[in-house]
Amino acid sequence: MLLTVKDLTKKFNHKIVVNNINLSINQGDLVAFLGPNGAGKSTTINMLTGIIPPTTGIIKLDGLQPSSTQYHQKIGVVFQNSVLDNELTVKENLLSRQKMYRNSVDKLDDWIDKFALQSILNQKYGVLSGGQKRRVDIVRALIHDPELLFLDEPTTGLDIQTRKLIWKVLSDLRKETKLTIVLTTHYLEEAELADFVYVIDHGQVIAADTVNNLKQNFAQDVLTIYPSDMMKISQILSDYKYQIDGQQVAIFVQQYQAIDLLNKLKPVINSFEYRRGNMDDIFLNLTGKGVE
């Protein structure tokens, strides 16, 4: 176990923002905190990174506490907002941060290469686009070769190419270096990439499981058909769970059974759609509301 968190609680002026959260994160895992805005994800990350102290609770990373300098050496953080200096160039920013670590590992050129920063190295950070900034932010977070990388909504507001690039490099990194990643997101497709998901709402963990288990328990695959003959449909579907909604029928059925079923339904339907259960369903089922 790389990171263990017990009974973590944070109150701001008697308002409970994070309520009794327990986490255990394995080395090399990609863990997602999924939740709507204001769920307490960022506050949790800020406590895990040692920026704010918890009101109560224990955080241990390899036996270290967040207040120790060795703890800082082991973690890298990509903040929600950019935290580099606008007036300095990308290179000056990265070099100045590198100098602030005692045991800096000289992999900077490597990172610059991987995140395609070569062409913007001498530009001022302030004039970069959102996607470029984010790439620099991630390199800054990796500059001292941490074991655990925190990403606080890393891809919010970015275009699809940048998102893809970031995810490609991060997954390569995980393969190469066993980097552990903890990210907060309200993008469901990003949470689907995770090995383990904590669904957080109102400061509490309301579900903690692998994506597959969550899908099995809280999301259903749905076959939607548009029948030409409604009468015959109900006979064929007598053994299935289904819902009629106007001209369409939603049948809750697993992938392989769906093939058999569709064969039977073939003569009486005009068209059909099949949709796998996703994180959206999970969230909807868990909280009774969608992710904003």
């Binding site: 935290v83 580099l84 670590y101």
Partner: protein
């Protein structure tokens, strides 16, 4: 810590407009003097030989004090900006302790103050050399540098104390405006201290500002005073010195002692508030 100081200095000197506005207070006092104060005061001290030269040096002394106050304040503004933008959190995540981060702000402001005072001195010296033909005295350079170093230190500590709990750049701007305006009055560059009512004099003397000006003036005007008042009776010299704020506490040593005491008090306050400040500034959402 070297990395932090380099970063802070780079950020200060990267912004041309920032440098200009940090010198605003000093430039105002310089320009005001050129436009009308100079003429008014030369008339007042007509009887003194070479009064123009004497007053040029007098103005330079006060303006250097204002420069030290506003430029160190401007450099320490970075501390507040880092707090607001969350950059402080990022810096805390490095191997640098909060104490080192804090000290780096102070040391960079100190350096900025020295550099900017030197620059301001050179500008004014060059101007008055061309315009009024005042001489360049190499003998005062070393003592002047020492005073600059000292004055930059005390105002860095003062501004650090002032900004201890400021978290918003907006508040910082308001405080800077007040300080920038007040510093010119307290340094006695808009108006010699002798022309002010007693209450104002008393108020000024409670702060280190007029003492700093006085020390600068004593160092810079020493030779010219000796020349101009060669044959004058002591009471005339003393009157000139007190009226013009060249001596505040009877003599140079007393002024120096007062400044030293002020530095110690300010430094102690900064240290006392340090822990509390760390909690308030860092512990935010």
């Amino acid at each position: 810590m070297k990395g932090l100081i380099t970063r802070n200095l780079r950020l200060f000197f990267a912004s041309k407009s920032g440098i200009f506005f940090s010198l605003m207070g000093a430039l105002i006092s310089f320009v005001l003097y050129l436009v009308f104060l100079k003429q008014m005061m030369t008339q007042n001290w007509q009887s003194v030989p070479d009064s123009k030269n004497l007053l040029d040096l007098w103005l330079m002394g006060g303006t250097l004090t204002v420069t030290a106050i506003t430029t160190t304040g401007n450099a320490l503004g970075l501390m507040v900006k880092d707090r607001e933008s969350n950059r402080l959190a990022d810096l805390i995540l490095t191997d640098q302790s909060y104490l080192k981060i804090h000290s780096a702000y102070l040391l960079s402001a100190w350096l900025v103050g020295i550099i900017m005072q030197l620059a301001m001195y050179l500008i004014m010296q060059a101007y008055f050399m061309i315009q009024d033909g005042i001489g360049f005295e190499s003998s005062i350079l070393l003592p002047l540098l020492v005073v600059m170093i000292f004055s930059s230190l005390i105002w860095s500590v003062f501004n650090m104390l002032l900004f201890s709990f400021v978290k918003k750049v907006d508040t910082l701007g308001k405080i800077s405006t007040i300080i920038g305006t007040a510093s010119g009055f307290f340094a006695g560059v808009y108006m010699p201290i002798g022309n002010l009512p007693n209450f104002a004099k008393w108020l000024m003397k409670l702060t280190p500002v007029p003492y700093d000006s006085a020390i600068f003036r004593q160092v810079m005007m020493k030779n010219q005073l000796n020349d101009s008042f060669k044959n004058a009776p002591t009471e005339i010299i003393t009157k000139f010195k007190t009226e013009m704020g060249i001596v505040i506490g009877q003599n140079f040593n007393n002024d120096l002692k007062f400044m030293g005491l002020a530095l110690v008090i300010l430094a102690i306050l900064v240290i006392i508030l340090y822990r509390y400040n760390q909690r308030v500034v860092v512990n935010k959402v």
